[in-house]
């Protein structure tokens, strides 16, 4: 129960952060990606600011024997730079560039009740579902 409440509060903080930083706005994201157009460096500031916090704090936290509310850390175990990683990053990059939306801002953006964002999220969920089904057939 405690971890569910903690997760909810972290989600709220994250959603507020996306809104305050305007990363919830596809125009800001495309503006950053449009390096040869009227460049908008807001995304760089957001990512830089977030990274300063995580880069300093993460090593201090993982030095602990366990997290505060759970028995163990659950961290990614893959280390190889393989074709699923690269092809996935390429497909994601194309989708991100087309709409200016990535998973966090798209989900938080549901709060606006914009039908366009609901459409994007539905397609994104369908895409993950397709990948989950197709993945084992290609790479196994």
């Amino acid at each position: 129960m405690k971890n569910t409440i903690a997760s909810l509060l972290c989600g709220i903080l994250f959603g507020l952060g996306l809104s305050v930083s305007e990363m919830i706005n596809p125009a800001r994201v495309i503006g950053f990606l449009d390096v040869t157009g009227e460049w908008d460096l807001t995304l760089l500031l957001v990512m830089g600011s977030a990274l300063i916090v995580t880069i300093v704090a993460f090593p201090l936290i993982t030095r602990r024997a366990k997290p505060v509310l759970e028995e163990r850390f659950v961290l990614p175990t893959k280390t190889k730079i393989d074709s699923p990683l690269l092809s996935g990053a390429i497909l994601f990059g194309v989708g991100w560039g087309l709409a200016g939306l990535c998973p966090g801002p798209a989900l938080a953006g549901l709060a606006s009740l914009s039908p366009a964002i609901f459409l994007f999220v539905a397609a994104m969920v369908a895409g993950q579902f397709i990948a989950i089904k197709v993945e084992p057939l290609i790479w196994k």
Binding site: R28, T42, P103
Partner: protein, 140 residues
């Protein structure tokens, strides 16, 4: 150049970083939104369904709170109709195959000094920049 949102970007970015740090400290988890979503889509009841749904719910709630206390969400859509569906599908498939998105690879993975995440982040950023160049400058 478009006027960047300096204060919002730095403060919002700090909030995103802090939320990711708290998730690692309290739950021992990486804040990768696409991965958290995957865990809900597969409905794996053994893999933390409550904290995952609480986080995504919080993400949306954070944006709702922004609308109540600060103002309308700054959202200017950049794509519509079929393009939005294609973008959503690509983001869904790509984040699943590539094991992450802007939050998991970009904010958390780089902080973990993961070469996989750094490679993924550079890849999807470069591909997104090229995508925007093609759609904004070559095709229009």
């Amino acid at each position: 150049m478009i006027e960047p949102n300096v204060a919002g970007g730095l403060i919002g970015g700090g909030m995103i970083g802090l939320a990711s740090v708290l998730m690692l400290l309290l739950l021992g988890r990486i804040t990768g939104i696409s991965g958290i979503l995957t865990g809900i889509i597969t409905w794996n009841t053994g893999d933390g369904l409550p904290w995952r749904t609480a986080f995504i719910g919080g993400l949306i709630l954070g944006a709702v709170l922004y609308q109540i206390f600060i103002g309308p969400l700054p959202i200017e859509m950049q794509a519509s109709g079929p393009l939005l569906i294609i973008a959503g599908l690509l983001v869904g498939i790509g984040t699943r195959l590539g094991s992450g998105c802007t939050s998991g690879h970009g904010v958390c993975g780089i902080a973990r000094r993961s070469p996989r995440s750094l490679t993924a982040t550079i890849t999807f950023m470069v591909v997104a920049v090229i995508t925007v160049y093609i759609t904004r400058h070559l095709l229009s």
